[in-house]
Symmetry: D2
Subunit: 140 residues, 4 copies
């Protein structure tokens, strides 16, 4: 396991929110991550779809960790901002978010991520994120 992968798996395990969402970090490589999760009644909005906010939370973690794989040694990442477009209702059982770094900077990185619904016939695009992440020193 690469150093950055261990670092990211440790960090992911400390996220109460990822546990609440039942999310799993299913892949990490330099500049990219993949997080998988399942639908659950605890994650729904009023029509029974997975809440746009739950989808966004997974996308945000996927982008942040993708940025962290390429952040300068000793720095952490914080989300500056993101935009998400919702392309089809998050109706289904299993979903996967895939993030990649579009540009890694000294201070700021820009990442994109997509969430797909997994079904028997393949994958369907549910949402897409464009995010700005900042490298910051964090202590404690």
């Amino acid at each position: 396991m690469e150093d950055f992968e261990r670092r990211i798996r440790d960090s992911f395990a400390r996220q109460g929110m990822m546990n609440t969402l039942g999310a799993k970090l299913t892949a990490v490589s330099s500049g990219a991550t993949e997080i998988s999760f399942s639908s659950s009644p605890s994650l729904t909005q009023q029509h029974g779809f997975v809440h746009a906010g739950a989808v966004t939370t997974i996308l945000d973690s996927a982008c942040g960790y993708a940025a962290l794989t390429v952040a300068p040694q000793g720095l952490e990442v914080l989300t500056v901002e993101f935009k998400v477009n919702f392309l089809s209702p998050a109706v289904g059982e299993r979903f996967v978010a895939r993030a990649q770094v579009k540009r890694a900077g000294k201070v700021l990185s820009v990442c994109t991520a997509d969430v797909f619904l997994l079904h028997s016939g393949g994958e369907k695009l549910v949402a897409t994120m464009l995010a700005t992440v900042m490298n910051v020193p964090l202590t404690g």
Copy 2:
């Protein structure tokens, strides 16, 4: 209680995700809503702050319901897209999100929302959303 308030309170109560976040709908008026929530270990990211995604989830519900108060009779709302800027880490106990409709259209509405940390000295701005919401017929 106004008709739209009853409709929105019923809808809010059906959101598994709002229950998971411990969020309460603390105010509803025509074109505006307020949702309150508290920090919890189940909502944290890796540094112990409330996850940007949890903050976003509350903002999204606040915007969606603000749009719903002014949606044409018989229509529901779906989030088309949003952008969120994170202005200070979500560190603290109690938070409140306040949303308002900036423009209500027949098909699309545009809403803004802010999340504030409540502390003894007042309020601190944590994050701000600009969102596009679509009026849609939904059955079932």
Copy 3:
């Protein structure tokens, strides 16, 4: 020439703003467009770079026309909203914007577009857009 290409080239020619920017529609295909432009003192911001707004204007037209290639017969497109990230200063001579439709819907389409600086060694990413475009009937 395909029908949609003729339609888009006619529309592009009617854009006073594209003429003001010296922009050329250099490629059109189903779901994608390419617009090229050059730096000029009339397009600069205060440091002599091409203004972020000029870059955005090209990206917006590229996305709008990409959406128009796949819009239902007889409908026009209007930009609902977009987000742009600026990844490196627009310093150089020649630039190209490439847009593609990420999802084409009956009412709304979502497009992405990138602007690249063209230089002797290849291309450098300058900015990226994520846009929502609406299909609308327009008369007159």
Copy 4:
């Protein structure tokens, strides 16, 4: 005239793009700016409305200069990213953009800005921006 106002008026005068758009800096105060402009055939899109990109360019300059009024001494500003929602077609004669800093940070500032159509009966909201601006040292 305050120091920051002189600095911003000098900078504005160096923007070729503001001249191309016929834009005037009509107000500057600490944390806020106002830029006015008029419709012109040179700024139109294919339906004769002012191009969304022209509107965005004005909004971007208004936000950048609002951020510059509160930037640390000796630093310049660059746009990191922005989102714009278009609320009604930019059809009319005179427009005004008003920007204000929502949060001024050491490295990043967040600004909002609106563009209004001015008409005999008052003002109509045309577009709204939420922007992230970075303080940077710039030489030369």
